[in-house]
């Protein structure tokens, strides 16, 4: 079985043509742009609500901040586990568009329910439904991007998608501010506007989104001898080519402390006033969206695994910057630049890489596996780093993690060439 996997898995119709017969694509395919726009609309929807949720829950609904912390916690963990199910379902049915659509629909439904949620229990369940939707849709959507772009431009395709996605995340809070400026106290108007964005996103995907088949136009190329379409099996995920990526992702992920910690470190050392705290996320996002495409293109040229590992080297430098006290302004700006670069070099690139390291019938599952490993490893990193911060103090803790990350990057660097060859 593994012998056949040496071949490059076929992607879109173009992928089957000989390399030189393909037209050099100047622009990213329509499919990627449509998926990017769907993400943009959905992120405007979710981030506009996220911007007012603390005020809405504590101010309008009159729940305590402790309760908000509980809701916030739900935001985090839930999506990682559902993601695997979404990936598996997309592979199993070979209808990633409809699995993704179900995920987007769930999140739109959550926006609708939020209008009627009054107590802590109902707000918490609405947030849970939203995260469920996000978990389900991510891997099928990334598998569609992976299948709709020619392999040599995959990094750029993911870069374009992530740029649009992050743009939506940046616009969301602005939309919320705009609505509240026009309608003072109009928290519910923000919820309705957010619902409208979600509905348009769902309509765009459902009506104009490409019905990508992961196994090629009719699955014929991958049909096994007895005529049955190949099923997703667990062992597809234990693929010899995917395993090193999961290992590298886990190893680097457990040394990736959340950017919230870096901002807290800057805060702790007096680099910034607490008032500017929310702006740190905006700064990182702007850098990310500006660099997503150029770094994606770079990954197409020099190798995606190489860029992925180099991105973590950048993160190690960001840790050092966050510990540098003087001059504070330089430390803050440099940290934000490096964090944005880190996301540009790792987020889309991981999906681009993972989709090419598994048999074609397991593409969405492979992407989901890599993303879940990253998410779980980073969760462990947050817990671990909290402990280090407590025992060593913020400076030493960051220096220790930076040193660990440097060692992990060097170790991962030895795998880069083989990973890039396996994914080529």
């Amino acid at each position: 079985m593994y012998l056949s996997l040496r071949d490059r898995p076929p992607a879109g119709p173009d992928a089957r043509l000989p390399r030189d017969a393909r037209p050099a694509p100047r622009r990213v395919g329509r499919a990627v742009v449509v998926l990017g726009m769907v993400s943009l609309l959905t992120d405007v929807s979710s981030e506009s609500v996220a911007a007012i949720l603390p005020l809405y829950v504590t101010g309008v609904l009159g729940l305590s901040a402790m309760a908000y912390g509980f809701v916030d916690g739900l935001h985090q963990g839930l999506s990682a586990l559902v993601r695997l199910a979404g990936g598996w379902l997309a592979d199993r049915t070979d209808r990633p568009k409809w699995v993704a659509l179900a995920g987007y629909l769930l999140s739109a439904l959550a926006r609708l329910l939020l209008l009627f949620a009054a107590g802590l229990g109902s707000v918490a369940s609405v947030v849970a439904v939203d995260r469920l939707g996000k978990g389900i849709r991510t891997a099928p959507r990334d598998a569609m991007i992976s299948a709709s772009a020619p392999p040599e431009h995959l990094g750029r395709a993911f870069g374009v998608h992530r740029m649009l996605d992050t743009l939506g995340a940046a616009l969301g809070p602005l939309v919320a501010f705009g609505v509240l400026w026009a309608v003072p106290g109009g928290h519910r108007v923000v919820l309705v506007v957010s619902l409208a964005f979600a509905v348009v996103g769902v309509a765009l995907l459902g009506l104009l989104g490409p019905d990508v088949r992961l196994r090629g136009p009719d699955g014929a190329a991958d049909r096994e001898a007895d005529g049955d379409p190949p099923r997703v099996r667990l062992r597809d995920l234990a693929d010899r080519r995917l395993r090193p990526l999961l290992l590298v992702a886990a190893g680097l992920g457990v040394l990736t402390v959340g950017d919230g910690f870096l901002y807290l470190a800057l805060l702790e050392q007096g680099g910034i006033a607490a008032v500017w705290f929310p702006l740190m996320y905006v700064g990182t996002n702007v850098v990310y969206l500006l660099l997503a495409v150029p770094v994606g293109r770079l990954s197409d040229r020099v190798g995606r695994a190489r860029v992925l590992v180099a991105g973590h080297a950048v993160l190690a430098v960001a840790y050092l910057c966050a510990t540098a006290v003087e001059p504070a302004a330089v430390a803050v700006v440099a940290t934000l630049l490096l964090l944005g670069l880190f996301y540009a070099a790792t987020d889309g690139v991981t999906a681009a890489l993972a989709g090419r390291l598994v048999p074609v019938q397991a593409r969405a599952s492979g992407i989901a596996a890599a993303q879940t490993v990253v998410a779980l490893a980073r969760m462990a990193a947050s817990f671990g780093f909290g402990f280090l911060w407590l025992t060593l103090g913020v400076r030493t803790a960051l220096l220790v993690v930076a040193a660990g990350l440097a060692v992990a990057v060097l170790a991962a660097a030895t795998r880069v060439r083989r990973l890039d060859e396996a994914a080529a």
Partner: protein
């Protein structure tokens, strides 16, 4: 469906979504405008007529043209005529010489203001997030403010608060109380996840507050001079010291386990006896204050009217078993000024 049909359908959905959201927004704006144009339903006293009498100062929460402004009623006639100021506060704590006012301007501008006896802003400090609590010491020499640190959903640490104590009128500033040395159950600790909120002043350099760490809350006694916080009891939130200094009232989770249902409890500082009024309120999320040595008052949101709350009172004298009673309607964040 043909590609053209799909495109038409998409355009139709988009138009409907945009039109519906816009229509709702405009209707909502009209409704808010109409609401904000209404005169208060409560009877009004002449401006400034109650300003020098014993009084209860609070944030007016009636859905009318005075929504969110600071108002006051006479201490001996809390259901009577209401004297409105022109000041807007989310939280207000008044004393005879002025008031501490936490305000929200727009979505991100949060501010702590010191107002003089004529409600003029003397000093202001930016807050890092949504206002939570404020208290002034009875002699007006110290002011405490608590606000949330507005993080973002990425922040895995949940919610975070910043509580600051300053000298009234400028001068000394003790900074964030999280930096104070913390002693819990006799052990010096410095957990990174600690949060401090809900200060109540106890005279001199002393105060009480809430510390949360590791999922538990503590009533702590603080000392500004030594910069220390020392635990007094567990499971107590948002303390309020009685005027005679003998008892502390606070919020407790009456239903530990699944959810959180806030009730009230009173701790006798001399004996350590804790008393939970059997008919006390449920769902209180306010820092209570003392009307006198036997009575607590606190704000409670109305379940059926978002944004509207009332101030209730509860008799906590030994042996009392009366249910809470409505003290000031359409009010929030009360403080008692008896001089």
């Amino acid at each position: 469906m043909s590609p053209r049909g799909r495109l038409t359908a998409f355009v139709a959905v988009t138009v409907v979504a945009v039109v519906a959201a816009t229509a709702y927004g405009l209707r909502e704006r009209d409704r808010v405008d109409e609401q904000r144009a209404r005169e208060p339903a409560v009877s009004r006293a002449a401006a400034g007529s109650l300003a020098r009498l014993p009084r209860i100062v609070f944030r007016h929460t009636g859905l009318d043209n005075r929504y969110g402004t600071v108002a006051m009623v006479a201490l001996d006639d809390p259901r009577g005529a209401r004297d409105f100021t022109d000041v807007q506060c989310d939280r207000v704590a008044a004393w005879s010489g002025g008031a501490s006012c936490l305000t929200t301007a727009g979505l991100t501008g949060f501010e702590a203001q010191e107002l003089d006896a004529d409600w003029q802003v003397q000093r202001s400090h930016p807050l890092p997030g949504v206002p939570s609590r404020t208290r002034v010491s009875p002699d007006g020499s110290l002011v405490a403010t608590t606000s949330f640190v507005t993080g973002h959903s990425y922040l895995a640490t949940g919610f975070s608060t910043e509580t600051v104590v300053r000298e009234w009128g400028g001068g000394r500033d003790w900074g964030n109380l999280e930096q104070f040395d913390l002693v819990l159950d006799g052990r010096a600790v410095s957990p990174v996840d600690r949060n401090v909120w809900g200060v109540t002043f106890a005279g001199g350099d002393r105060f009480y507050a809430t510390v949360a760490t590791g999922g538990a809350t503590w009533l702590v006694e603080g000392d500004l001079g030594d910069r220390t916080l020392t635990s007094v009891a567990r499971d107590a939130e948002c303390p309020a010291l009685s005027p005679d200094g003998s008892r502390v009232a606070f919020k407790v989770d009456t239903d530990p386990g699944s959810g959180t249902t806030w009730g009230l409890a009173v701790l006798d500082l001399a004996t350590g006896a804790r008393h939970e009024p059997s008919r006390g309120p449920r769902g209180v999320d306010d820092q209570v204050t003392w009307l006198d040595d036997d009575t607590l008052i606190y704000g409670l949101p109305r379940a059926d009217q978002p944004g509207v709350s009332d101030v209730w009172s509860l008799d906590v004298s030994p042996g009392a078993s009366r249910a809470p009673s409505l003290l000031v309607e359409e009010a929030w964040s009360p403080s008692v000024v008896d001089r």
